[in-house]
């Protein structure tokens, strides 16, 4: 039996900050897939009619930003002791708070820190790794904050 190193040792680890531009391409791909049709997502005019200063993204895209930020900032093997080819990782819980709307074209910085790791027994034994996440804007102000937890099977 292969022993997984103690993942509790990961608590406190801060992953490198990742920059993500909410690109026109990503939003153009996302809107039809998501069925998001509000005029505020389509143009600056539509956004202003809804009281936003410029074109916003759907709030439903925010979890995608948190998830893609984390996927780009950590390494499954090095940071979570998980062989991604044979191991299994799943989402546990996601908690997000939106401090302001997010705009198409803006550059965000996403950073995560492992704040807790604990073992649980379900049908199989697994670790839950809770990662706090902050999404900051170009001025360094936090736009979205929260936590994502990952289920890592042993």
């Amino acid at each position: 039996m292969i022993m997984t190193p103690d993942r509790k040792t990961l608590i406190g680890r801060t992953f490198p900050a990742v920059k993500y531009v909410i690109s026109e391409d990503d939003i153009r791909d996302y809107l039809p897939v998501a069925g998001e049709e509000h005029l505020a997502f389509l143009s600056d005019e539509g956004a202003r009619a809804a009281g936003y200063e410029r074109r916003v993204i759907p709030p439903s895209f925010a979890p995608h930003i948190a998830v893609l930020g984390m996927l780009r900032s950590f390494d499954w093997e090095k940071d979570f002791f998980l062989d991604y080819k044979t191991g299994t990782a799943m989402f546990g819980e996601q908690e997000l708070e939106y401090l302001r709307p997010l705009y198409v074209g803006e550059t965000l910085t996403i950073q995560g820190t492992v704040v807790d790791v604990y073992e649980k027994q379900g049908k199989r034994l697994f670790d839950v790794a809770k990662v706090s996440v902050t999404v900051t804007d170009g001025e360094g102000a936090v736009a979205v904050r929260g936590a994502l937890s990952y289920i890592l099977f042993k």
């Binding site: 998501a34 759907p58 439903s60 998830v67």
Partner: protein, 146 residues
């Protein structure tokens, strides 16, 4: 186009049901742009043979795309999409192509925070078999009639 009647802060009360909404059927071709956006190359979402070798009936829809529909259930009903303030969502089961996802919500608390009208609710999403996919809580603001 969402046809559910919108609510004002004065209209809602604790225990009230948010009108439910059903989305789907889920489409496996949606998983390709989501994989590209997330830069998540996990074959579990794209390769049916790989998924079946792992004992699954089909490819697994990406978790964030499951969340999309639970968010839309709220933000399509709210007066403005960014009236959503907080979400807390637990992943309970997988979604597969052709699934229908129905989203539900119940208001649990109505209050003001720094003068802003706030509403807390329990939300959940289930598939066509009634299996819970996502479970959680959300907070949003509603305008007052005026």
């Amino acid at each position: 186009m969402d046809t559910r009647q919108k609510a004002y802060f004065g209209d809602v009360h604790e225990g009230m049901t948010i009108p439910s909404a059903t989305y789907g059927p889920m489409d496996r071709y949606s998983y390709i742009p989501i994989a590209i956006i997330l830069r998540d190359t996990n074959p579990l979402h794209l390769d049916r043979v790989y998924a079946r070798e792992r004992g699954l009936p089909d490819v697994v829809q990406q978790g964030p795309l499951n969340e999309t529909y639970l968010y839309r259930f709220l933000t399509d009903w709210l007066h403005r999409p960014w009236d959503l303030r907080k979400t807390k969502i637990r992943f309970a089961a997988n979604v597969f192509p052709e699934d229908l996802l129905t989203c539900h919500g119940t208001i649990t608390r109505k209050y003001r925070e720094n003068g802003e009208p706030r509403v807390d609710c329990q939300i959940w999403q289930e598939n066509q078999k009634g299996e819970k996919i996502l479970l959680g809580e959300a907070t949003f603001t509603l305008p007052e009639r005026g």
